[in-house]
């Protein structure tokens, strides 16, 4: 359980990291907190020949007031997100979801950008970004672009980031006073969700699902039903529609679908109360 050898490159700025990616192409991986990548490398499920360490880029760790949104540097650690006063008032869902990632030691090292860029359908933060209608700032050789969260997760462990792009900032629309809920169902506290549901109610309702498909997904059928005036119960009843839930030791598709319906109902009830 030891990573394969690699060449180590330390980047002291986003530009340097992007240049390294451009130079090494697919052979390179970015290392932020390492809590998604290093476990894969230890099992040699990932064996990049070049590791570009972005963990020391000091100006990408912040939680700032961006006017109509909160701007979070990609290298901000989960611990900083879960203890942020600004997020407590402007996006309490995100603050709470950050506190549900892994365990405290993981949260001390893992970064919000690393987690989102990994794009794991079973992880917590992507669902929060989807429900909150956040966006990602990607920096590449040709400058910055903003990618809506709802267009970011493109496939299993794949995102809209190009090979030579780096996620630098996460933007969350301010929503002080919005109702919210995060329902995480697992068997051990430290584990990934078997199914999770993030919901935000702020006039309209955003709902996203954890571990109900190959990517983190928006609960489109639920959102449509609610937009059409459906009751919570009726909206929850269609929670699994259009999803392709995975099967594993904890749950088959039937049980995951059931959990999605139950948890969406609980989340909507809490968010709208």
């Amino acid at each position: 359980m030891i990573p394969a050898s690699f060449d180590y490159v330390e980047a002291d700025s986003a530009a340097a990291a992007i240049a390294a990616l451009a130079q090494h192409g697919d052979e390179a991986k970015l290392l932020a907190g390492g809590h998604s990548l290093i476990p894969l490398m230890k099992f040699r499920l990932a064996a990049p020949s070049v590791l570009v360490d972005i963990g020391r880029i000091s100006d990408l760790s912040y939680i700032n007031d961006g006017g109509d949104h909160v701007a979070i540097g990609a290298l901000t650690r989960h611990r900083a997100v879960e203890t942020s006063d600004m997020l407590a008032s402007e996006a309490p869902l995100l603050k709470h979801v950050a506190s549900q990632v892994g365990d405290p030691s993981v949260r001390h090292r893992g970064t919000i950008g690393g987690s989102l860029a990994h794009g794991d359908p079973a992880s917590d933060l992507p669902a929060a970004l989807l429900a909150l209608n956040g966006s990602m700032v990607a920096q590449g050789p040709n400058g910055e672009r903003v990618i809506p969260a709802r267009e970011f997760f493109t496939g299993f462990l794949e995102t809209a980031l190009a090979a030579d792009e780096m996620l630098t900032e996460i933007r969350i629309p301010k929503a002080a006073g919005a109702g919210w809920s995060y329902q995480k169902f697992n068997r051990r506290a430290q584990d990934w969700a078997i199914v999770g549901v993030a919901a935000v109610h702020n006039g309209s309702t955003g709902v996203a699902l954890v571990n109900m498909g190959a990517t983190p997904i928006v609960a489109n059928s639920v959102e449509s039903a609610l937009a059409g005036g459906a009751s919570i119960a009726d909206a929850a009843a269609v929670a699994a529609d259009g999803t392709e839930p995975p099967e594993d030791l904890n749950a088959d598709a039937e049980y995951r679908s059931h959990l999605a319906r139950v948890l969406v109902e609980r989340a909507l009830t809490e968010a709208q109360s």
Partner: protein, 791 residues
């Protein structure tokens, strides 16, 4: 250094072991290094059953820092062993016991079986090189479950015609058993699955073998529970003369049965170190442990009970199909037998019969895991009693009361249906204490309230009155079961010239606190301070005689041996003191660490002064040997039978199927206690391991024999967040087996808890028509069971 009347036995003394372990001073095998050591890396089979058609080691051997690469066939040709890995418990004369060598030669029979080994200069280099060995296989049909093994078709060993390894019956009176069922008012029959478990001691196993190329001796450091047994077995398998082998078990990070084996890695390290003339080491990775260390449980049980109209038991009939895995390891076939005698539990059952069939599968071998056969037995009878209670229409407490051995009154030396003599018991008051502490009637009222309200979170209350057989011991009894060794234990106690005491323990700890408990026993026996006692153990060069630690035997056998050695020390000291004080030995009283002449309180002699006199030997009685050192090898006349009542309270979310263990109350009785702090700790840990079987843990295999959850990501050892604090209490019914009146407690918690939890889950769901649920009671399984019961 004054002798004191310490009176520490029975007090919660903090442990002597802790300062080292709390500071990083404790040395586990992976912490110990030898100059010139080579790291061994294992190339393990990726197939459950296959012929090896080619092993290409060239790329691995060519890597920098790689010292050697050997295939299984090459190792076999090198003649490193004279016999296969040992099975010490050949349960029947015709038991099938296929040869099991440290590495596969031409056929692999479980995923993870070693196919080749690499030896490299570094930890990382060994991992890299093992990856570069390419093995070609020709797949053979895999037997991936006990059902598949039993039902015919493929065989786990291609040269066998059947997977059956043995049939073992314990049916004292078949006619009486049939008659009991024929005449019964109520009969119930239940089938239970004891899923495979991964023992998961927190310290992975590891070895370091240090050879002496010119001296011819070899030292093996191993994370083992059984250094003494290992020494004999290394000699028997490698041909290295036994007196040239030294085994050291340094700090050992938990065992739970998983470290009582003789493993391929241990033999490979010793033989390759000798062969290469360099130290050889290996440390298991967690994910590797699912293959490199044996697993526990793996049984299909059928239990039938017969009772009269009042629920009074008339008969109990049990059959077990047991999964041996791919090979017989040290006591693999005997594990179900350890439970066989306990399928009637704490109950008076006039007629009893037990049969067991052992089967081979293409899975990791099974062997002892905390409780070894007894949690399985306790689970079956305690689940069955709840089912019978429903059938008869009485409460789970009442069905138990009506059937307790001794009618719920105290008893001693009572013969049981399983042909044992229980040393002592007193089950009624123990149950009362548990129900009282659990506030049982209040719980039932709250349960009713939720049922009436149609609450989605239903309350379940589960009882279990367990008894276990431990203090594995009487050598004659073990011989009668064809066990390959005795059950005695050795202890030695010696005064050093300065008055300090060294104890040599044959029983070897791996977390149980032997150093503390033995010091307490010795302190009280000799009237000294526990701080003046050191306990030496776990190194065959220091403690040459011992049968090690398993089966909750350390205190009831090894601890008693040490207490008896203390008595011998005092008796010798009495002769010396009498000689030097010119008194009759019978006129000396020994108390508070001093001998005093009766009637002359000013004529006293501390035992430490006696010890110094024994050392100088200037003035000893004629013919007496110098020094104050005595040893005892103790072979008890009987086992010991601890018992207790556990109450589990669960809240089941009937919508999601999630079970939350909210309260756990345990009233245990392990006889007299040496250190209540340690006893309680053993109870806590044991309970959580049993709860883990009930709710979280299962080694899951696919149809091809691949373990689907070898790592801690998917094999769900519970964390602090999943379990509640545990309410403990004790009754005290001293054992009649030994002079200390002690029983064992290491496995008790595990033996009581799985049944209590599943009884609670079934109790919560009884309004839904649910009568049983398989372990582990995962949310999905609970939800599906409710769905099925409702449809």
């Amino acid at each position: 250094m004054t002798a004191v009347e310490s009176g520490v036995v029975g007090t919660p003394m903090v442990r002597k072991e802790d300062p080292k372990l709390l500071t990083g001073e404790g040395k586990y095998v992976d912490d110990i290094h030898a100059h010139g050591e080579l790291w061994m890396g294992m190339v393990r089979s990726t197939m459950a059953h296959a012929r090896i058609t080619n092993v290409d080691t060239a790329d691995a051997a060519a890597m920098p820092g790689v010292h050697a690469v050997y295939t299984g066939a090459q190792l076999q040709e090198m003649g490193l062993w004279i016999a296969p890995l040992p099975c010490a418990w050949v349960v029947t004369e015709d038991m099938v016991n296929p040869p099991h060598y440290p590495t596969a030669i031409d056929e692999v029979r479980h995923v993870g079986e070693i196919v080749a080994v690499v030896l490299a200069e570094t930890r990382y280099g060994a991992a890299d090189a093992a990856e570069q060995v390419v093995v070609d296989y020709e797949p053979l049909p895999a037997v991936a479950s006990i059902e598949a093994a039993r039902d015919g078709g493929a065989t786990a060993h291609s040269d066998h015609s059947t997977n059956k390894a043995y049939h073992w019956p314990l049916v004292p009176d078949p006619e009486a058993l049939d008659a009991a069922f024929a005449n019964a008012t109520h009969t119930i029959k239940a089938e239970f699955i004891q899923q495979r478990l991964i023992p998961a001691a927190m310290e992975p196993r590891g070895v370091l073998a240090i050879p002496s190329p010119h001296g011819g001796d070899v030292t093996l450091y191993s994370s083992t529970q059984v250094p003494h047994i290992l020494k004999v077995m290394v000699a028997a398998t490698t041909g290295i003369p036994e007196h040239k082998i030294r085994i050291v078990a340094p700090a050992v990070g938990g065992g739970f049965g998983a470290k009582l084996n003789v493993n391929p890695d241990e033999l490979l390290a010793v033989t390759l170190a000798n062969k290469l003339g360099r130290p050889v080491r290996w440390t298991e990775t967690r994910s590797e442990a699912a293959f490199s260390t044996h697993q526990g449980r793996g049984q299909l049980q059928t239990i039938e009970l017969a009772s009269d109209a009042d629920g009074k038991l008339m008969g109990c009939r049990v059959h077990v199909d047991a999964d041996m895995g791919a090979y017989m390891m040290l006591i693999t076939p005997g594990v179900p037998l350890l439970g066989s005698f306990l399928y009637t539990g704490v109950y008076a059952v006039p007629a009893f019969g037990f049969t067991c069939d052992g089967y081979f599968t293409n899975l990791t071998p099974t062997d002892a895991y905390r409780g070894a056969g007894r949690p399985e037995a306790s689970y079956a009878i305690e689940r069955a009693m709840d089912i019978l209670a429903l059938e008869v229409g009485v409460g789970p407490d009442e069905i138990r009361r009506r059937n307790y051995l001794g009618d719920g009154q105290p008893f001693e030396n009572l013969e049981t249906p399983g042909s044992l003599v229980f040393d002592s018991g007193n089950y009624g008051p123990n149950l009362d204490a548990a129900l009282d502490m659990a506030k049982y009637s209040e719980l039932r009222a709250e349960q009713q309230r939720r049922r009436d309200a149609g609450d989605t979170k239903q309350l379940g209350i589960g009882l279990c009155t367990y008894v276990e057989i431990c203090g594995l011991a009487p050598s004659r009894a073990l011989g009668g079961l064809n066990y390959g060794a005795g059950g005695w234990e050795h202890g030695m106690v010696r005064f050093l010239p300065t008055g300090m005491v060294e104890v040599v323990s044959g029983s070897t700890p791996h977390g149980q606190g032997h150093e503390t408990s033995w010091s307490m026993i010795v302190a009280d026996k000799l009237g000294i301070d526990p701080a003046q006692v050191t306990v030496l153990h776990s190194d065959t060069a220091i403690s040459p005689l011992g049968l090690d630690t398993y089966g909750s035997r350390s205190l009831a056998v090894g601890g008693v041996a040490i207490a008896m050695a203390c008595d011998k020390v005092v008796e010798k000291a009495r002769l010396i003191a009498a000689h030097q004080m010119e008194a009759n030995p019978d006129d000396l009283e020994f108390a508070g660490g001093s001998f005093t002449v009766k009637g002359s309180p000013d004529k006293t002699m501390p035992i430490q002064a006696v010890a110094f006199g024994a050392f100088t030997a200037h003035d000893l009685p004629d013919g007496m040997e110098p020094n104050l050192q005595e040893q005892v090898t103790y072979d008890p006349a009987n086992f010991v039978f601890p018992f207790g009542t556990h109450v589990a309270v669960v809240e089941v979310d009937t919508v999601t199927g999630e079970t939350n263990l909210t309260d756990y109350i345990a009233i245990d009785d392990c006889g007299n206690q040496i250190n209540p702090l340690i006893v309680e700790g053993q109870v806590h840990g044991g309970i959580v391991q049993g709860v883990a079987q009930a709710l979280w843990e299962e080694a899951a295999y696919d149809a091809d024999g691949n373990c689907k959850n070898p790592s801690f990501l998917d094999y769900l050892v519970p964390s602090p967040a999943e379990v509640p604090s545990i309410v403990t209490g004790f009754t005290t019914t001293p054992s009649t087996t030994n002079p200390l009146g002690v029983k064992g407690v290491g496995e008790a918690g595990t033996i009581g808890s799985a049944a209590a939890v599943i009884n609670a889950v079934c109790d919560a769901l009884s309004p839904y028509g649910v009568t049983d649920i398989e372990m582990p009671a995962t949310p999905r399984r609970v939800w599906k069971t409710i769905q099925e019961a409702q449809s």
